[in-house]
């Protein structure tokens, strides 16, 4: 029974980490769209390349933070949460 409980904990943590990483898809698509529009803008006005690059860099960094939040949650769920939850379970059993 205890093995089953530990298995459920590990499985749920892995599942949760996988679900969290779905959020990592968004920034990639968003950044791709942003750079496509930036290319268009620079093609129309080549003299504004520096301003467009600056704005795009900042926009990409902001978009990427969303992915980083998901990544941090996934890392915590994979590496830290299982140990903590198993400890809690063991303490409850004793």
């Amino acid at each position: 029974m205890l093995e089953l409980a530990i298995g459920i904990i590990l499985g749920c943590c892995a599942l949760g980490a996988g679900c969290a990483m779905i959020a990592g898809i968004g920034p990639g698509i968003g950044e791709g769209n942003a750079v496509a529009k930036a290319c268009e803008a620079i093609g129309r006005q080549p003299e504004s390349k520096s301003e467009v690059t600056t704005t795009m860099l900042m926009g990409c960094a902001v978009a990427e933070t969303t992915g980083l939040y998901a990544l941090v949650i996934a890392i915590l769920l994979i590496f830290l949460a299982p140990g903590r939850f198993v400890d809690i379970l063991m303490n409850a059993v004793r």
Binding site: G32, V35, S50, L57, E64, L68, I75, L76, L80
Partner: protein, 132 residues
């Protein structure tokens, strides 16, 4: 490859902010009495990863703006995935090895976001005028 002037300036700005925020993080650990050498090593690892991530993104953007639309979009998507893997590897090392404090590794990854948040206040005067 030569770095664009804009990318160099922005990376320097972000790196400076990451250093300032790292100092603040260290002082918070000192104040709460939980500082040890793992906090310093973890902070250095996390801050270096955050700055390197921004620099790599800058290099990618610098190359991508010279490409055609479709190629640029896919180039940035691939770059984003690879950078995410890099951050995952760094954070994994930071969490698994006992030489690094977990919080001190993970928190600096968000320092560039804080730098961008305060950019309208501390950015160039020209930027401020444009944002008004």
């Amino acid at each position: 490859m030569k770095l664009d002037k804009t990318v160099r300036y922005e990376t320097l700005y972000i790196t400076l902010w990451v250093i300032v925020c790292s100092a603040l993080l260290e002082s918070v650990f000192l104040i709460i009495g939980k500082w040890d050498h793992t906090v310093l090593t973890g902070n250095v690892l996390g801050a270096a990863a955050a700055a390197a991530n921004f620099l790599l993104m800058g290099v990618t953007v610098q190359k991508a703006v010279l490409m055609d639309k479709k190629r640029a979009a896919s180039y940035l998507k691939i770059s984003q995935s690879l950078r995410m893997l890099l951050i995952f590897a760094v954070a994994g090392v930071g969490v698994l090895l006992p030489y690094f404090n977990t919080v001190a590794v993970l928190v600096p990854l968000f320092f560039p976001r804080i730098a961008i948040l305060f950019r309208p206040l501390f950015g160039k005067k020209k930027d401020r005028d444009e944002s008004v």
